[in-house]
Amino acid sequence: MKQSIFEIIRHERLTETVFRMVLKGDTSDITATGQFVNVQLSGKFLRRPISVCDWDQDTLTLVYKVVGSGTEQMSRMQAGEKLDILTGLGNGYNLEAGFEKPLLIGGGVGVPPLYALCKALVKKGLTPVAVLGFNKKEEIFLKEDFEKLGAEVIVATADGSYGVKGFVTDAMKGLEYDYFFTCGPEPMLKAVSAASECSGQLSFEERMACGFGACMGCSCKTKYGNKRICKDGPVLVKEEVVW
């Protein structure tokens, strides 16, 4: 965990409500895909937890959706502006879970953390399949980015305006995989968990204050005991989740 100042070096709109912000700064405490950062915004008391889409030695990529006044304020920021960010938060995905054919399933703004995960899996010599779910064609983002990594991408849209019509679970039918990684809204996580026969890891979201395990604001019950989504999560294994 580290608190440091990042400078925005690129900021672009991907869809009407989704933005990609690339920042320069100290990323040394980001140790796993699926972790998140907690971003301080001027005039907002609490930080905004946002999943890490990608990072390298000195850049951090956040892909986020405008869902309230904080992210709206963030979306108006420009290159050159600076942000105070806590990095290296959360456990992240465990890539040593023993699998050969991983399936990645992302829903809406749950897609971004799967990008760095996909990159890491490709680096391990695997060819992941990514099922990305959106409401409609206009809301699709990061599809080409996953394809550029070499992943096979299947898009599902709820209204059928692109790819498979329906939910990610419709697109999952008939796919061969021996493990899954997912991130998205909780009803989707539950449906994915029920639709899959193998084990997997699910990334959860919860309203939180600190993001580093101190306030107990984001606790949940699991089969392995009480956990804090921010510190012991956000990634839980399928077997421990209590729905």
């Binding site: 965990m1 907002k44 008391f45 309203r207 395990g213 101190a214 107990m216 604001g217």
Partner: protein, 303 residues
């Protein structure tokens, strides 16, 4: 050289900074950010006799210059705290700690205090009679002078350690309750706990917090807390730990001028994990600017 030391019921604190209960866990999470031995002390997570999961989520909401929480006293129970948290704490915190205790009955408060009284690491017992997030307990004791005095008297019988009663601001007359606790034998008072508040989600048209209401904290409540510390200081002779929205060295000085001997920092820790370290580092310069040689000298200085 300025002097940051203060005396609190026989304990000499290196400085008046004490992270507040519920905002600092057992210190472990913060020991990763800085050496927490630089603190005066800290008040660990509110402890009950039995383990508690607390309230359903969402437990957190934001507001202008503050936040609401409805955690509901999640804690592993006093036996677990004594068997696991306190021994582990020895590794990273070497000063007397403040044990924060909650209960749902007089017997529970007493038993909890008894068990924690026996712990060498515990320097002060802080008895929370003011948690707004649990039904039928906690605050019920803190909202009447009579029951506040009963809790105070009962726990004083089972401990030799200094007992601070943590007061609720959600009362008509905090001074009356403060006096009742003093008369019942309290060694000090902690104030204020959070203010009862609420936010509503406009899209769902329902309260954001699953518990509907929660404790309001953060810089927005600082003037309320300061006012109450000021009022209580005038009415009692026992020392006060002042808290509520404190987030800078200047706030600490202001709280001490109002009458606080020690100053607790709560919500600010959650947004800036190093806030207490920064305040301690900034205090000497602020004191010099204001012509303060020793913090001890300014306690209640605004009266």
């Amino acid at each position: 050289m300025v002097n940051l030391k203060v005396d609190l019921c026989g304990l000499t604190l290196d400085n008046p900074l004490i992270p507040a209960s519920g905002c600092f866990g057992y210190g472990k999470e913060f020991a990763r950010w800085y050496d927490i031995n630089m603190l005066g002390s800290f008040s660990f997570k509110g402890t009950t006799l039995e383990p508690r999961f607390g309230n359903p989520t969402p437990r957190i909401a934001e507001c202008a210059e503050g936040m609401l929480n409805a955690v509901g006293l999640q804690n592993p129970g006093v036996e677990h705290v004594i068997a696991h948290e306190l021994p582990e704490m020895k590794e990273y915190f070497h000063k007397p700690v403040v044990a924060n205790i909650s209960g749902f009955s007089l017997e529970e408060y007493v038993r909890c205090c008894e068990l924690l009284d026996a712990q060498e690491q515990v320097g002060i017992l802080e008895v929370n009679i003011s948690c707004p997030n649990v039904h039928g307990g906690g605050m019920a004791f803190g909202t009447s002078a009579k029951s506040a005095a009963e809790v105070t008297e009962a726990v004083k019988k089972v401990t030799k350690k200094p007992v601070f009663i943590k007061l609720s601001p959600n009362v008509t007359n905090i001074v009356e309750i403060a006096k009742a606790c003093e008369d019942a034998g309290a060694d000090g008072l902690s104030l204020i706990n959070t203010l009862l508040g609420m936010r509503i989600d406009l899209n769902r048209r329902k309260p954001i917090l699953a518990n509907k209401m929660g404790g309001f904290s953060g810089p927005a409540i600082f003037p309320v807390a300061l006012r109450m510390v000021y009022q209580v200081y005038e009415a009692v002779k026992i020392p006060l730990m002042g808290m509520g929205g404190v987030q800078t060295a200047r706030d600490v000085i202001e709280m001490m001028l109002a009458g606080a001997t020690a100053v607790q920092i709560g919500a600010a820790n959650l947004v800036n994990p190093c806030v207490c370290k920064e305040i301690i580092e900034q205090l000497p310069a602020e004191m010099e600017k204001l012509g303060i040689r020793s913090l001890k000298d300014i306690i209640g200085g605004a009266h």
